[in-house]
Amino acid sequence: MSSTDVPTREELVRNVAGLAPVLKKHANWSEQNRRVHDESIEALAEAGVFKLRRPKRYGGFEADTRTLVDVATELGCADGSTSWVASVYWIPTWMACQFPETVQDEVFATPDVRVCGTLSPSAMAAPVDGGVVVNGKWGFISGALHAQWQEIIAILVPAEGEPYPIMALVPLSDLLIVDDWDTAGLRGTGSVSTVAQDVFIPAERVLPLPAVLEGQGGAAGSIYRAPLLPVASASSVGTLLGLAKAAQDSFLKRLPDRKITYTAYASQREAPITHYQVAESALKIDEAAFHAHRLSTLVDTKTVEGGSWKLEERAIARADLGAVVRLAKESIDILATASGGSSIYQGIPIQRIARDVAAINLHALMHPNTNAELYGRVLCGLEPNTLYI
C-alpha cells in the first residue's frame, strides 16, 4: 500500500462509527467474560484501527493524534472496554517504532499486529551473551489476550554500573498469562497479568527506557519523534469523550419514558432539576473536548514543527489528560445519578459507563489529582517528581 492509499480522518471516523452495532452487541458478553469479544477485534481490524499507528512502510497510516481522539470517541461511544483496548494498542505499537528497523520488520510482519504493554518495571533483567534474561510479572496488561507481542519494562542489572530500566519486546508466546482480571470497571478489557520466567530477549529488542520516554524514533517530523507521555496521553483521551457522549445518549434515550418515582413529576423531562443536570453534564463534555483537542493539537503541532519540548508543555499534556478524565467522570456521574433505580440492571448501559469511567479515574497515569498536582508543581517552578512526563 502506498502512502496515497491512507484514508482521511473523516473516512476513518466514518468506518469506525459503522462498527457501533457490533461493539454494542458484544458489550454485555465482554463484561460477563471479562475480555473483548473476538468479533469486536476483527471488526476493529477491518476498520483499520490497528493500522493507525503502524508505519506507512508496513501498510500503516501513521495517523496523527487528533485522528486517535476522534476514532476513540466513536469507539468509546459504542463500548468503553473495546475502546480502551484499542487505544492501549496504539501506545506500545508506537513504542515498537522506537526500535531499529530489523526489529520493526519482525513485529510488523504480522498484518494488523497488536502490541500490548506496560510502563511498570515489575521485572528484573540480567545480561547474558547476546541479550538479557528476564524474570517477573506485569499486571493490568490490557489487550494481552489478543496481542502477538508485549512491550515489557524491567530493571536491568548490568555486570558493572548502576541498574537501569529497559524496555523490550517479547512475543506473547514467550509469556504466561495469569487470568486475574475480575474487576468492577473496564471489566470487558481482559487486562490480565503476564509472567516471564527466564525469557531470553536478544539485544536488538532491548532499549533503555529513558530513550523511549524521549521518543527519538523515525525521521524528523515523524509521529514517532515526540516524548512518550504526551503521545500516550493524547492516545488515551478519546475513549473518555466517547464514554461521556454514550452516557448522554443513553440518558436522553430513556428520558421520555421515565417519571421521577414518588414525586408529582410524571415525566422526568419536565423537571427543572433534569434540565440543570443535562446542561451541566453537556457543558462538561464540551470542557473535556477542549482539553482533549488542546492536547492532540499540541502533540500534532510539535510533531510537524519538530522542535524540542519544554517541561511546561510536557506537564500541560498530563494536565489535559487529567482534566479530560475528571470532566468525563463528572459529566457521566451527573446523569448516572439521575437515571433511577432501574438503571442498575446490567442491560442499561449507563451503569457500565459509570463503572468504566470510575476505573479510568483510578489509573495511576490518568488520576486527575496526580496530574493536577504534577502540573501545579511545575507551574510553581519545582522539578517534576516522576520519570513519566
Binding site: 515489575s122 540480567a126 530493571i155 541498574p163 486475574d180 509472567v195 516471564a196 520466567q197
Partner: protein, 144 residues
C-alpha cells in the same frame, strides 16, 4: 526499601531479582526453577516445614504445586537488604500466597521472610529461606 552501604547497586538489584524469579517460577508451578534459586545445600523453613537441600525443596514444591498451592500465585516485595560481606547478606521481604481470585494477601497468609543470600561464581543464590506469619504470634506458652 532500605539498604546498607556495602554491596553495589547491581548486587542489591540482583538480590531483589530473586523475588521475581520465585514469583515467575510459582506462576508456572515450576518446582525445578524455584529449587534452582537455592544453593545445593540450601534450607527452607516454613511454619511446620523444614527442607534441607535442593532435592528435598524441589520435591516439597512439586507436591505443593500439585496440592495446596495449585492455581495459586505468590506475591512479595523487598523491605530491606543488608550485606554481611560483599558476597553475603540478608534480604527481608513481605508477601504471601494468593488463592485463585485473590489480589491481596489474606491476613492469615501474610508472611515476612528472611532470605540469606550468598554470591557464588558471580551470581546470587538463596542459602536459607525462612518465613513467619506476619500478623499472628505463637499462642501464649502453656496453652494447648
Amino acid at each position: 526499601m532500605t539498604t546498607t552501604e556495602t554491596g553495589t547497586a547491581a548486587d542489591q538489584a540482583a538480590i531483589a531479582a530473586l523475588t521475581q524469579k520465585v514469583i515467575a517460577a510459582w506462576a508456572y508451578g515450576d518446582a525445578d526453577s524455584f529449587a534452582g534459586v537455592f544453593t545445593e545445600d540450601g534450607t527452607m523453613i516454613l511454619p511446620g516445614v523444614y527442607k534441607k537441600g535442593r532435592d528435598e525443596i524441589r520435591a516439597f514444591l512439586a507436591e505443593s504445586f500439585a496440592g495446596n498451592y495449585k492455581g495459586t500465585q505468590v506475591t512479595g516485595r523487598p523491605l530491606e537488604i543488608r550485606f554481611f560481606t560483599p558476597d553475603s547478606g540478608v534480604l527481608i521481604t513481605q508477601g504471601g500466597v494468593l488463592a485463585p481470585g485473590e489480589t491481596e494477601v489474606a491476613d492469615s497468609q501474610s508472611i515476612k521472610a528472611s532470605w540469606t543470600v550468598v554470591k557464588r561464581d558471580g551470581s546470587w543464590h538463596l542459602a536459607s529461606y525462612q518465613n513467619t506469619p506476619a500478623k499472628q504470634q505463637l499462642p501464649k506458652p502453656g496453652t494447648h
